[in-house]
Symmetry: C2
Subunit: 139 residues, 2 copies
């Protein structure tokens, strides 16, 4: 299950990859209940469809287990040459649209470092870890 | 401050990158005390020097803030085509040698997924997050 959207102006531009953990369950949830990650994926699909003029290519993809486990939904955002971030406590109902908007802010930076005051509150509070640009030259 | 080591047999092979957060402080530590990451870097330098026959190229590098903050030392391990991991609660005195050994296990796998039972206990317990191979083709 993968959603992609690409506005005409952004054809060929580098994509922002938004990975959604589809493994973790909400604490105390019924074993048969839809998993939070599946709900977030569906909400992101709707948010992407409503946001065709974003000017950036956003690729949303499900991944198996980001090993955070206790803070669903968990997502990771990355783009070439930029810091990779992992965020937890993402709410499918509240945060899908803001997450797509944040992805647009993120890819507009040279290094993925959106100024702190410009980050949405759920992004400020939800950070789990960050990793330097992996294409950075190793000695 | 960067340490590298490359055994003759591994010249040209892909490096394992071991990034050490040098920003976080131990809880309650004196502001003038050496930071845990600086101690781990020094210990990794010694461990690398004692491990020249590892058969892999290990690049240890300091990074500014992996945004974990409450679980020093924090490290991240990555290599081309492999899952990237972030680990916390790494102890400079106890874990430098085992961490270099684990880096060797890690790069020996095709995808960075060392079987659970073969992972050292501090690696099992310390996982903060993992991220899929970033070179993986996006749709």
């Amino acid at each position: 299950m993968t959603f992609t959207i690409e506005s005409p102006a952004s054809a060929g531009s580098e994509p922002v990859r938004l990975m959604v953990c589809t493994t973790c369950r909400a604490a105390g949830a019924d074993a048969d209940a839809p998993r939070p990650g599946a709900q977030l994926l569906a909400a992101l699909g709707e948010a992407l469809a409503a946001n065709t003029d974003a000017g950036v290519r956003v690729v949303v993809e499900p991944v198996e287990c980001l090993s955070v486990c206790k803070r669903p939904c968990t997502v990771s955002i990355t783009a070439p040459g930029r810091w990779t971030y992992v965020y937890g406590d993402v709410d499918a109902a509240a945060h899908a649209g803001p997450l797509i908007a944040f992805a647009t802010q993120y890819v507009a930076t040279a290094d993925g470092l959106v100024p702190w005051r410009e980050r949405p509150e759920f992004i400020r509070k939800g950070v789990v870890a960050r990793i330097p640009p992996l294409g950075r030259a190793a000695p």
